[in-house]
């Protein structure tokens, strides 16, 4: 019986010019989004690869100079772009793709695409993920608004009930029909886009690509089960197709379009982060704090004199200036960590608001999970920043130690050359596996499951109610 209902639904879809038109428009939009997104990532990649090569060349060919001076000249840590970013760019456009690994400073990421977009920036967010998260639910609603209201309006619901079709069977058949009919459009499109995105542009750096791919497909399937069930449920509550259409379009506008935007605005207003000037001042303060901390400086002097068993700095066999510079670095580390921890705490509070809002908007839950699976969210960016900072500290230390141990009588006049510059490794970064970050996404997964379960129970209840009301 379920199969018969599902089959009838599919045949009706295929013979409906409305369905065919909407499906075609959806596929065109998704394909365009995928193409544009892949091209964008390809451009990113070209620019990043070129910049990396230039950075290496400029570094190696900087000529002879003091290693600490070179530490100020510094290098860039470039953020590798995972291929799935073409599917879901997440915060990529806003987070920056490179870090300047300068001595004394833990700089924030720079080269944000959003800064280069100008006036078009605020509307240039077409990506396959956005199409699937925001536009596809409208497609589902436009196809399913008459699922039950249409049967009720035309009288076929009475016919079905007279044939002994129960609410559960009817709902299951409808959901299966919608699943196959809509899934035949959405799932191949999703897989194609993921495959397309996964094979062009970007780096193959995600160590658990298969898990992420499966996770993305399952997340979107769950999302569309929820959306379809809600559409059937709302349709069952309405006596007329027109009323169902209005209700579903209103739901789409409210829950799928407006709520995510308003929530993001509320989150960033209530928990406003510091502006870049404030961050810059804080970083300056952290960087210079060493020179105000006479106790710390006295302590490092005591330690180094004791280590070498000498009475004064002049007797040290190492370059004291380099030692002091390195210690000033180490003095700043916990201060930098605190600044960025505070910044992250603000971001987490903003995410907390979004999490709460995901209870009224499945789009918000999917948005966070999708970007996490694509490796393009704040959590992944944070890991990159932490990785880059580790590398910055490593190369600054390497430079300072070369100066410290090899300067000898030359003092600040010491200069290292290309042979030494070549020993400074490029920043090499492998993003974390999804499973290692699973706890960050558990809430979103639970919420998406809850939406699917709620949607199914809601729709079952609504269909049962519709059947009970056919004689009224």
């Amino acid at each position: 019986m379920i199969g018969a209902i599902a089959q009838r639904e599919i045949v009706s879809f295929l013979r409906s010019s409305v369905f065919v038109s909407i499906a075609a428009a959806f596929v065109v939009l998704l394909t365009a989004a995928a193409f544009l997104s892949v091209e964008r990532v390809k451009t990113f990649e070209r620019e990043r690869t070129a910049a990396e090569q230039v950075d290496r060349y400029v570094w190696d060919s900087q000529g002879e100079r003091n290693p600490h001076s070179a530490a100020h000249f510094a290098r860039y840590a470039f953020k590798p772009i995972p291929k799935f970013v073409a599917f879901d760019p997440g915060i990529t456009d806003y987070a920056g793709i490179a870090l300047w690994m300068e001595a004394h400073y833990q700089n924030p990421a720079v080269f944000r695409r959003a800064e280069d977009l100008g006036d078009a920036g605020h509307i240039a967010n077409l990506s396959p993920a956005w199409v699937l998260q925001v536009i596809a639910p409208l497609f589902v609603f436009l196809v399913l608004f008459g699922a039950l209201a249409g049967e009720r309006e035309s009288g076929t619901l009475r016919q079905l009930s007279a044939m002994g079709v129960t609410a559960r069977t009817l709902f299951s058949g409808k959901l299966l029909g919608a699943g196959v009919g809509l899934g035949a459009i959405i799932i191949p499109a999703l897989v194609f886009v993921l495959f397309f995105a996964g094979h062009t542009g970007g780096d193959d750096i995600l160590p658990d690509k298969s898990i992420r791919l499966i996770g993305l497909v399952l997340s979107y399937v769950l999302y569309f089960v929820s959306v379809s069930a809600i559409a059937i449920g709302v349709s069952a509550l309405m006596a007329e197709k027109r009323a169902a259409l209005i209700a579903l379009v209103a739901l789409w506008a409210g829950s799928f379009v407006v709520t995510p935007r308003i929530t993001a605005d509320i989150a960033s207003t209530v928990y406003a982060g510091p502006d870049s000037a404030t961050i810059s001042r804080a970083l300056d303060g952290a960087s210079n704090a060493f020179y105000q901390d006479s106790e710390y400086r006295a302590e490092i002097d005591r330690v180094i004199l004791k280590e070498y068993g000498v009475e004064s700095k002049d007797e040290l066999p190492i370059e004291y200036g380099a030692y002091s510079l390195q210690k000033s670095e180490e003095h700043a580390h916990p201060l930098f960590e605190k600044i960025y921890a505070n910044l992250n705490a603000v971001h987490k509070k903003q995410e907390g608001v979004l999490r709460a809002a995901s209870l009224i908007s499945p789009t918000i839950a999917l948005n966070a999970l999708s970007a996490g699976l694509a490796g393009s969210d704040r959590v992944h960016h944070q890991k990159f920043v932490e990785g880059a900072e580790v590398h910055r500290r490593k190369i600054v230390k390497q430079l300072n130690e070369d100066y410290m141990y090899n300067a000898g009588e030359a003092g600040y006049g010491y200069a290292a050359g290309e042979a030494f510059w070549k020993t400074i490794e490029d920043f090499s970064y492998i993003p974390p596996t999804f499973l290692s970050l699973f706890s960050s996404y558990a809430f979103g997964i639970i919420v998406l499951f809850a939406y699917a379960v709620f949607g199914i129970f809601f729709a079952m209840w609504a269909v049962r109610r519709a059947q009970k009301r056919i004689a009224k």
């Binding site: 019986m1 009706s12 016919q159 044939m163 004689a471």
Partner: protein, 245 residues
């Protein structure tokens, strides 16, 4: 086959059906006449299990609808005033769909044969139902009853709005079904068609079955007079006596 025992339905203190006792045997057509709101459709809805009776019981093939609503539907076919079909499907596909819901699978040739038996030609049967007239829809309803081999048919004003030719065709089909041993309960406003095909004619008023006439003993005009007398609370004894004489 169909039986109502003290069947009662009230909606918000309004009695839509008041202690109805009725039997429709195999090979019988009972036509229920009555004004709008007399309780005809409520009776059909109670047999279909669309409504829960307030009191009393409805039985289909000996099964109480209250306890075995799904089971009783195996024996029933329902033809409303406007048979609702799926416009994107052809007549054959609609028939096939409804039969599959009843757990019946038939070949295309068998489906066409049933539709032809119900009075629909093969060309029409392959057209989409969106272009069907009301009469053609009724034929699909009859075809479902035939193919399903339903023991009882419940028809809710199936003749309303049909042109005379289509009404005549439907009546012929119903008579054939009656002769084949089906029990038929039909709600209608058409006294003359009721006389033409009914075995018995029940007159309903304000939820009560106020008269139960043997259609073979009365002509259409007499039935109409009795009906009008009931509607106007006049004495029907004289009309009956006249008819008997």
């Amino acid at each position: 086959m169909l039986e109502a025992k003290q069947l009662t339905k009230t909606f918000d203190n309004v009695t839509a059906l008041d202690r109805l006792d009725l039997r429709v045997e195999a090979g019988e057509i009972i036509c229920l006449l009555g004004a709008n709101g007399a309780g005809k459709t409520t009776t059909i809805n109670l047999f279909l299990g669309f409504l829960e009776p307030t009191a009393g019981n409805a039985f289909v093939n000996g099964l109480n609808v209250r306890n075995a609503a799904l089971e009783t539907k195996k024996y029933l076919a329902y033809i409303p005033e406007q048979v609702a079909l799926y416009p994107q499907l052809s007549g054959i596909e609609n028939l096939n769909y409804f039969l599959r819901l009843a757990g019946i699978r038939k070949s295309r040739s068998d489906l066409i044969a049933v539709l032809i038996e119900a009075g629909l030609d093969e060309t029409s049967a392959t057209r989409r139902a969106s272009s069907y007239s009301k009469g053609m829809r009724q034929k699909i309803g009859i075809a479902i009853a035939l193919a399903k081999n339903a023991k009882a048919l419940l028809l809710d004003e199936p003749l309303s709005g049909l042109d005379p030719s289509a009404a005549n065709t439907l009546c012929k089909s119903l008579l054939q079904l009656r002769d084949d041993g089906h029990a038929i309960l039909m709600a209608t406003h058409d006294v003359f068609r009721a006389k033409e095909i009914g075995t018995r004619i029940g007159i309903m008023k304000a939820g009560k079955l106020v008269d139960d006439l043997d259609a073979s003993l009365l002509d259409a005009r007499e039935i109409e007079q009795i009906y009008l007398a009931h509607m106007h609370d006049s004495n029907v004894t004289d009309i009956r006596s006249g008819a008997a004489a």
